[in-house]
């Protein structure tokens, strides 16, 4: 027991001495830097390995995260907005039975004076059956105020043929994919059948005003857009609406706005932000993050073996030399500090090379990676087919920290061994 205590105390003293030498001794740093370059070829090989590992992880993270960002942006910009206000109970049971009977006036009044709101748009959502002379398809009906909707979503810019809704009566926008399936063209007549709020079957004929294509294949396949008043008439719902979609200036402050609106509007409504509206999207983002850590771990463990190996080699081939310097008075802690500096320099040079390589890669990919050949698979996940890499600070800091820690740990074992060697034995070593 006594023995153990004494050893622990001695180890504590040793560690403190190492830290002191590590921090204070500029001379050690100079020696360490020179030692790193004594075997230039070996150092260069490790540096390349580290650089490839760093650049590989940074770039693949950036591409992955770019994909996630675009998925989120697409969902927000094509449909969700940042916030939506519904009547109570809509989340569990979406349908015409849950509607804002005042036409959303209360919500609008609150939104008009709230901070951070850039636009809002009223909508009616329901399901219907769209029939052409050739075929029919089940569709989601989204009725919009064209002018207000244009400030929430990119629908107006997604029209590829014909024109956006502009108040002309009995016009409908449908996706290109749906048009193909129903075999209709611009100006074709289609009949939309649906049940109204009383449960009666209602139908009305529309002409195709425009065709759209968004990065979401679900929208392209199964959503049609009408003008708000016409849907309200079709569904016999007066001036009631299903939802208010809201866009904000600052997405990060959505939760604050949400809290404010819940207080203002009370129990009669549900206010949900985009994360709550599309929980799957959030799971997806989380999944990408978890995958990222697995990738980091795998690559860095492989790198650690390389670093440890080089440090071991460089220490063992200097057994005699280290013996000489300890016998002429260099202390053990200083040897450890010196070797630790060596591994830090090695990793540091690797990191710098890695970041230069990453920056080059990102520069080459700055216009995005065009994956349109595989576009449908991406679109069915709601991702546009050109992916622009996005680098987060976190994705740069994490590899830096992990590499530095890996380097120190990998160098520590040989360092401690070197410092413990007895000079007399070391000198006898060839």
């Amino acid at each position: 027991m006594k023995d153990l205590q004494r050893r622990l105390r001695e180890d504590g003293v040793f560690v403190r001495a190492v830290l002191l030498a590590f921090e204070r001794d500029a001379f050690l740093r100079r020696i360490a830097w020179r030692n790193v370059w004594r075997n230039g070829r070996r150092t260069v090989v490790v540096v390349i390995a580290i650089a490839v590992g760093i650049a590989g992880t940074v770039l693949s993270m950036a591409i992955n995260f770019g994909m996630v960002v675009q998925m989120v942006e697409t969902a927000i910009a094509t449909d969700l907005g940042h916030l939506q206000i519904h009547a109570r109970g809509y989340e569990d049971d979406p349908g015409l039975a849950r509607r804002l009977d005042d036409g959303g006036r209360m919500g609008i009044a609150a939104l008009d004076v709230a901070e951070n709101v850039t636009a809002w748009a009223p909508r009616v959502r329901s399901d219907g059956l769209l029939t052409s002379p050739r075929a029919s398809a089940g569709v989601s009906v989204l009725a919009i105020d064209p002018e207000r909707e244009a400030r929430i979503t990119v629908l107006a810019d997604s029209v590829t043929q014909g024109a956006y809704l502009d108040g002309e009566k009995r016009r409908i926008l449908i996706g290109e994919a749906l048009a193909e399936r129903l075999r209709v063209r611009l100006g074709s007549k289609v009949v939309l059948s649906a049940t109204d709020v009383r449960g009666d079957l209602a139908g009305e004929a529309f002409r195709v005003r425009g065709l759209f294509r968004t990065p979401s294949s679900e929208l392209n396949r199964s959503t049609v857009y009408l003008q708000l008043e016409e849907a309200q008439r079709l569904f016999a719902m007066g001036d009631a609406i299903s939802e208010l979609a809201v866009r904000t200036a600052d997405r990060d402050r959505v939760v604050g706005l949400q809290r404010h609106l819940v207080e203002e509007l009370g129990e009669g409504v549900e206010v949900r932000n985009w994360e709550q509206l599309a929980p799957l999207l959030v799971y997806f983002v989380d999944m990408f993050d978890q995958m990222a850590w697995i990738v980091y771990a795998a690559v860095f463990i492989a790198m650690a073996f390389g670093i440890a190996n080089v440090m071991l080699m460089s220490v063992f081939e200097r057994t005699r030399e280290i013996g000489v310097i300890t016998s002429i008075g260099m202390s053990g802690p200083r040897v450890v500090a010196m070797v630790t500096w060596e591994s830090l320099f090695l990793v540091g040079v690797g990191l710098v090379a890695g970041f230069v390589l990453s920056a080059t890669g990102l520069f080459l990919l700055r216009d995005g990676i065009d994956l349109s050949r595989w576009g449908e698979g991406l679109n069915s996940m709601g991702v546009p087919s050109t992916i622009v890499p996005v680098v987060r600070t976190k994705d740069l800091v994490a590899p830096t920290v992990v590499a530095a820690v890996t380097g120190i740990l990998a160098g520590l074992w040989p360092a401690v061994r070197a410092s413990r060697a007895r000079p007399a034995e070391a000198l006898r070593h060839v």
Partner: protein, 409 residues
Amino acid sequence: MLELRLAWRNVWRNRRRTGLTVAATVFAVTLVVVFVAMAAGLHEKMIEDAVRLQSGHVAAAGRGYFEERTLDQFLELDQELFDELDGAPGVLGWAPRVISFGLLSKDTDARGVGVLGVDPERESSVTTLAGRLKRGDFVSAEASRGIVLGERLADNLDADLGDVLLLFSQSYSLETAYDLFTVVGVIKFPDITMDRSVAVISLADAQAFFAYEGRASEVAVLAKDADHAAAVAASLRTAIDGDAQVDVRTWDKLMPDLVQFIFIDDAGMYIMLVILVVVVGFGILNTILMSVLERTRELGVLLALGLRPGAVFRLVYVESLLLAGVGLLIGLAIGIPIVLYLQANPIPLGGDLAQATELFGMDPVMTWKLKPMNPIGSCITILGVAALAAFYPALKAARGRPVDALRSV
């Protein structure tokens, strides 16, 4: 043989260094085997789920159906077709379906739905639809106006067993079709979109409802597995003997989204594995390079004694391959049992991950699959990397001039 023995001894001269390099290789090989098997399992499951849920491995339909998917393109269900299907080798089961759309309403609620008319007995020879029943029964064989709803669809319509729903659509003859159906069952589709929007009725009901007597939209065919789909499609094409009215497709043509998704997913994974292998490759390069450089004198002696440069080159090469080979064997010895265990005991997923898998229309289970290409590919990759890494050091060793080498310390 002598070279092999010499190389083996050389590899183990510096045990610590070799040990670390081998450890890195073992680590990489194990990861590669496990990850590749995970992706293979995931993708195979996605394909099987999709195939066993909807498309079948192969589908036959009226010409043009796969492009248009309307009632205008149909198959005549006659004895001749049945005989052809039964006669085609490799066909394990087949099921005719009528597929169209309708508006399904209960009280004030209505939903656009995909209507799937199936023959329950035949359907169970291809898909697992009936096995996914949550409550109630599957549709019966004869016309009975029973309807089975996806679970979310039933929730959204607030409908339960025994409720009567109005189905409204357009028939083949372009007339308005509507009829009342009674909910007899609720089914859980793993795919969210399907769960929200598919209603199943019996084939007989569907044919009556859509004025489609004796016809079907498609016949789904089951093969042994996805890899046999092409062969079955070919034998089917032979069986129908060039009937221009029938179009036969395999699952990958029926679900191009899925094929593309798998491609992208694979690409992401292989990029990661390549980075990993490259990092390990540099480790091997460094080890071999160091061992050559510290043996300059010794190799010089060998050359001076008359060993040919080619033999020295081979020696270093064999060392590198042995080094990688040891790591490779241990890595496979660790990775393969892990994968085989996981393959036999799939991991059920819970919570958030379970919901995320539903996005892809899958059951929340993580499966692994060891394909022969997986260990074979790992061997080729690792040995290939070792061969590449050895090139420079081997060249350096073989090119050394004995005189210079002997002078070096």
